[in-house]
């Protein structure tokens, strides 16, 4: 059957749930009696789903690809991501202090601090950028964010109710609704900022998290426990891995994320990018081993705040898997 344009449009309307009343009943009656129409509906539905999945996957990849650091999947990655990647690849990062990175993160978070009415009048897709444009006023907006947050929490249910009542919210052209939506977006952002700031403040530098008995003991532990991956040994490849993780107030490690940022051949020459691609498996082996070693470490001494309470703290370790010199570890803070 060659479906005509009108039929396909009808099917679109039907699948988008835009048919109502008499039109819907009529269509459903025709559908029930017409197997060809049924198969058209199924095909079209699946095709739409595939289109959506493809586009969604692209969005997911875009998010996952930011700075290659989903561990810190925060807006600031977008800002400092490029700098971090370059820093991670070159040895430059060895000279960047962890403090500098933390400062950047706070700064970037402040950039997302929402402002009142002007941002709300922008259109929905560009509102993110609008937030960034207001970074200058960031310092003064925290008091505004606080009441906005409580307002939001009181309204959470109405928002979702409103959403579920309208299956096609995105095509909703009612300007009043738009405004509600945006207002809630803004307050959502506010709650983000308040939350992050809270934890940011709690991660104080009064005492940093440390390996029990100090960094020398850590180096010993690495020497004794870290294995050089067999395949890498066979291929005579050495590598460097950066591991980011959080030390909990209990001294355990969570959110461990390793990335291999450098691989070298037997002559200590860095691998070409083509070789890096070919040896992705080995990079993964290095990463797994570095993650494993962080996981099996003894309980760490947690960081503390100014009152001496144990707090959650981020740590970065750099592991060197070297065929010549054995395994070693560096810490930069």
């Amino acid at each position: 059957m060659r479906a005509d344009l009108h039929t396909m449009e009808q099917v679109d309307l039907y699948l988008q749930g835009k048919m109502t009343g008499e039109q819907l009943r009529q269509f459903e009656n025709t559908l029930a009696a017409n197997p060809e129409l049924q198969s058209l509906v199924t095909d079209q539905q699946l095709l739409i789903q595939t289109v959506n999945r493809k586009a969604l996957m692209a969005e997911i990849h875009a998010v996952a690809g930011i700075g290659g650091a989903p561990w810190y999947a925060n807006p600031f990655v977008a800002v400092t991501g490029a700098a971090l990647v370059i820093g991670g690849v070159s040895t430059l990062i060895y000279f960047m202090s962890a403090d500098a990175e933390n400062e950047t993160s706070v700064l970037a978070n402040e950039q997302t601090t929402p402002v009142d009415s002007p941002a709300l009048t922008g259109n929905q897709t560009s509102s993110d950028n609008t937030y960034y444009a207001y970074q200058d006023s960031a310092a003064g907006t925290e008091d505004q964010a606080e009441p906005a947050f409580s307002h939001q929490s009181a309204n959470t249910n109405p928002v979702t109710d409103h959403v579920s009542a309208n299956s096609n919210i995105q095509t909703d052209n009612n300007p009043a609704d738009r405004l509600v939506v945006q207002a809630n977006d803004a307050t959502d952002q506010a709650s983000d900022v308040v939350d992050t700031k809270d934890t940011e403040n709690r991660v104080s530098k009064n005492r940093i998290a440390s390996y029990p008995k100090g960094d020398l003991a850590l180096k010993e532990f690495i020497k004794d426990n870290m294995r050089f991956p067999g395949t890498a040994r066979e291929k005579k490849i050495s590598g460097n891995v950066k591991v980011k993780f959080l030390v909990t107030p209990e001294g355990t490690r969570t959110s461990i994320e390793a990335s291999c940022f450098n691989m070298r051949d037997e002559n200590d020459k860095p691998l070409s990018s083509a070789q890096v691609v070919l040896n992705q498996k080995i990079a993964n082996l290095f990463e797994r081993e570095a993650e494993r070693i962080v996981r099996i470490m003894p309980i760490w001494i947690p960081a503390t705040d100014s009152q001496g309470n144990a707090v959650l703290a981020p740590v970065e370790l750099y592991f060197n898997f070297s065929l010549k010199d054995g395994n070693s570890v560096y810490r930069l803070d």
Partner: protein, 189 residues
């Protein structure tokens, strides 16, 4: 972000923030998958597939969360990983913490449908860029035909509509050919 906020973001089409939030669960899930014989690559694939299933679920207005969102996400990942393991003829016990045990019915997951979608992905890679663009704008971004006609520089809304119709017709035709071919090869094997 609370679970309700993540859900609201997804439903409002502001998926990026939601995905970022959900991505925070990835390290744990990857750990679980690697412990039971996977590697980082397959973990990422499965996690991305699980995000798609979750977002599809959440977009359904009838969806109601009965557990923590992360527990649900873990459940989808466990389900997909178990599926993958079965494909590899393995069936280990997966004891994941804070994870919902989900069945295919609960998840609305069917192999047959997934196969069809895979086939349609092939089809989509064969249609023209312009068709892809129209589909994406109309179905994913939910733009109306006027905007699409303007954006893709069609001479009129009607010609955009006709083009979209032709694209759809062509895609469905291709899909039917492809699946017929596959049936044939299966029969001859």
């Amino acid at each position: 972000m609370t679970d309700q906020e993540v859900i609201a973001y997804i439903r409002l089409g502001k998926r990026e923030q939601a995905i970022k939030e959900l991505y925070k669960e990835f390290p744990k899930i990857r750990g679980n998958i690697i412990y039971s014989g996977g590697d980082a690559e397959i973990a990422r694939e499965i996690f991305h597939d699980s995000l798609i299933l979750l977002i599809e679920k959440v977009c359904n207005p009838q969806f109601e969360l009965t557990s923590k969102l992360s527990t649900y996400l873990f459940g989808i990942n466990r389900f997909l990983w178990k599926n993958e393991l079965r494909r590899r003829n393995k069936n280990p016990e997966l004891e994941w913490k804070d994870t919902l045990i989900l069945s295919a019915e609960e998840l609305g997951y069917s192999e047959e449908k997934e196969e069809k979608i895979k086939l349609l992905e092939k089809v989509l890679s064969q249609v023209t860029e312009r068709c892809k663009k129209i589909f994406e704008l109309f179905y994913f971004k939910k733009e109306d035909m006027n905007t699409i006609a303007r954006e893709l520089e069609f001479s009129s809304v009607n010609s955009a509509k006709t083009q979209k119709y032709k694209c759809m017709e062509r895609a469905i035709e291709l899909a039917r050919q492809l699946s017929a071919n596959e049936l044939q090869t299966q029969a001859t094997e």
